[in-house]
């Protein structure tokens, strides 16, 4: 990490761009975050990136109870992407509060905690448990994971169900913690979902979650994944993600957007910023390059400087103007 970290931590070659931004009303020093489900709870990335220098560590989605996740196989490589069917394996909220969040707080890393559940009350209870927890910057409400019991029928596909979850979370959550709703691209009109959840109190939107996909093994002639279908991620979905950010920012320009979906380089991140994202998450790219979040930050700063931007915020939504 010699080169990457030196550039990230204020080496003399660093371009003079103000990279400070915010997740709604919560300021962050970098617009680059990890993505939920792609960096566990941050600990494994410590050898490769300065976690405290990231905008935030977005945790793997936590639920009320520990979850084993699905049986293997859980993964299939696809062109410029991958299909996963993990099934939200995790320690549950008790484990998160006892172990993972204190670990992040001790390192000065901001945690953006992804919460998930199967009922509205589950989400609200999780938000309540996270009130005032040190180091918790905000909440990302995962209403769009495809690897859950109801498969494609996730909250984020129904504007009313999505709004019910978000309203309950916003009411239960710490007022100092912004609540972002994570949306699914697997809908006919993502703008209508975005309108519904922001009207219900979402402080911002995370876009996008994975797309539901399938791979069949030509030798066994059966689906590869133990869970049959899985979530498609990686650069293959980047144009879809960018389109979603573009459409929502065009319709709701005042709503903060955390953009994600196949970001691998600073120029990829720049596209999301120009489309309207005020911060980005780097997800599947971490599997390929564990130092990717720090590298993307440095490359984005260089790209903004090269285009004459003095601040990141000047570039947010620039492509619409």
């Amino acid at each position: 990490m010699t080169v990457v970290q030196a550039r990230h931590s204020g080496h003399k070659g660093e371009p003079d761009v103000d990279m400070g931004t915010a997740l709604a009303f919560a300021p962050i020093p970098s617009p680059v975050l990890t993505a939920s489900g792609c960096s566990a709870f941050g600990q494994e990335l410590e050898p490769f990136v300065d976690l405290g220098a990231l905008g935030a560590v977005v945790t793997k989605s936590v639920q009320l109870q520990p979850r084993s996740g699905r049986p293997t196989p859980r993964m299939a490589e696809t062109p410029s992407g991958m299909l996963n069917s993990i099934g939200l394996q995790g320690p549950g909220i008790d484990g998160l509060l006892a172990d993972e969040l204190p670990w992040l707080a001790r390192r000065g890393a901001r945690a953006f905690v992804s919460i998930a559940g199967t009922r509205v009350e589950h989400f609200a209870e999780l938000a309540g448990r996270l009130r005032g927890v040190p180091g918790v910057l905000g909440l990302e409400v995962n209403i769009s994971c495809p690897n859950v019991e109801s498969r494609g029928e996730v909250f984020a596909c129904d504007p009313v169900a999505a709004a019910d979850v978000v309203a309950a979370v916003r009411e239960a959550a710490d007022p100092a913690q912004p609540v972002f709703a994570k949306l699914s691209p697997d809908v006919t009109d993502i703008v209508s979902i975005a309108r519904s959840v922001t009207a219900a109190g979402a402080d911002g939107l995370s876009m996008i979650n994975t797309l539901l996909g399938l791979v069949i093994d030509p030798d066994t002639m059966r689906p590869v994944l133990g869970g049959v279908t899985g979530g498609l991620s990686g650069p293959a979905i980047r144009p879809v993600a960018l389109r979603c950010v573009w459409q929502v920012h065009q319709a709701l320009p005042e709503v903060p957007v955390l953009g994600m979906g196949g970001i691998r380089s600073g120029l990829d991140a720049l596209q999301f910023v120009l489309a309207g994202a005020s911060a980005v998450s780097v997800g599947t790219a971490v599997f390929h390059d564990p130092s990717a979040p720090a590298r993307v930050h440095a490359e984005l700063a260089e790209a903004l400087a090269a285009r004459g931007f003095g601040t990141l915020s000047d570039a947010v939504g620039y492509a619409h103007r």
Partner: protein, 302 residues
């Protein structure tokens, strides 16, 4: 789940402890290929990688990015470390898909992005404990460093290596320099005709610990033979991994932990070395009700 005298596994008292963490954190480096040698069906690659080599201990692996900077193959390829002498890192690549074929085709002078060393090493026994090492196919490469470490600590080392055919054997010369080696092939094209388990059954009663690396079916058979003989065994598994560093959660196996409870454990960070009597081989690819967190998935005890 546990009794006062020790932990109880799926089939009785456990003979092993979970493998401890490695002494050093991994690094990510772009390293140069300095040697390439076809070995039967495989390719042995050597890299100038002093920082990876200096940190590595036997049983660990490295994870390569494949296909170059703009590669459409996003997932790392995880491969056991076969040697680490003089600042160099050696691995044996078995080309079977586009990624491993790309890696095996790299020539001296090429550079590759590598992360490592990764995973938990083989726990070493009391000095002088006689040991049996069992390698299937290219899995034998992972045992060379272990054989050397055991010899240094005064162990007598016996090794059994097997493969479908002679061209799929690996590291026989390296192991022969360190151990009393028995070679078997399915077709008799080298050594004895038969399976490694034939020789393991003959030798397991003479040793105090068994180590194995190879395909899952072989690991299961070797672990069962060792456990039945009352001998602790440690297996290095080959599960498909996306990242190798513990963040993707794809490489899990049902493994009995220190507290006697079974969890879906990551092969990369909680393995690849597991106690052979802790891996629930029969339940791989399924979710049973006694796995921690199964209830939240709707899988409940009958």
């Amino acid at each position: 789940m546990t009794d006062p005298g020790g932990h109880v596994g799926h089939h009785g008292p456990l003979l092993t402890e979970p493998a401890p963490r490695a002494p050093s954190a991994p690094v990510q480096r772009v390293v140069e290929v300095v040697g390439r040698r076809p070995v039967g069906a495989y390719v042995e690659l050597t890299f100038d990688a002093p920082e990876v080599a200096a940190r590595a201990v036997p049983g660990q692996f490295v994870a390569f990015a494949v296909g170059g900077r703009e590669s459409a193959m996003l997932l790392r390829r995880s491969i056991a470390i076969a040697g680490t002498g003089e600042g160099r890192l050696t691995v044996v690549v078995a080309p079977h898909g586009p990624g491993s074929t790309w890696l095996a085709g790299q020539q001296p002078g090429a550079t590759v992005d590598v992360v490592g060393p990764l995973g938990r090493p083989f726990p070493l026994p009391e000095p002088g404990t006689p040991a049996l090492l069992v390698g299937g196919g290219y899995g034998a490469a992972a045992l060379v460093g272990l054989a050397a470490a055991l010899r240094e600590r005064g162990s007598d080392v016996a090794a059994v290596t097997g493969a479908a055919s002679a061209d799929r054997l690996c590291s026989v010369d390296e192991l022969t320099a360190l151990a009393d080696v028995t070679v078997l092939t399915d077709d008799g094209s080298a050594g004895r005709r038969g399976w490694v388990t034939d020789a393991v059954a003959e030798l397991v009663g003479e040793v105090g610990v068994v180590y194995a690396c190879g395909p899952m079916g072989m690991l299961r058979a070797v672990a069962e033979l060792a456990t039945a003989a009352g001998v602790p065994s440690y297996v290095a598994v080959e599960e498909s991994m996306a990242c190798g560093i513990g963040v993707c959660m794809t490489c899990v196996l049902p493994v009995v932990g220190a507290d006697g409870r079974t969890r879906f454990s990551r092969s990369c960070t909680e393995g690849p070395v597991f106690g052979g009597d802790r891996v629930r081989f029969a339940d791989v690819g399924t979710l049973t009700a006694d796995v921690v967190g199964a209830a939240a998935m709707g899988v409940l005890p009958a």
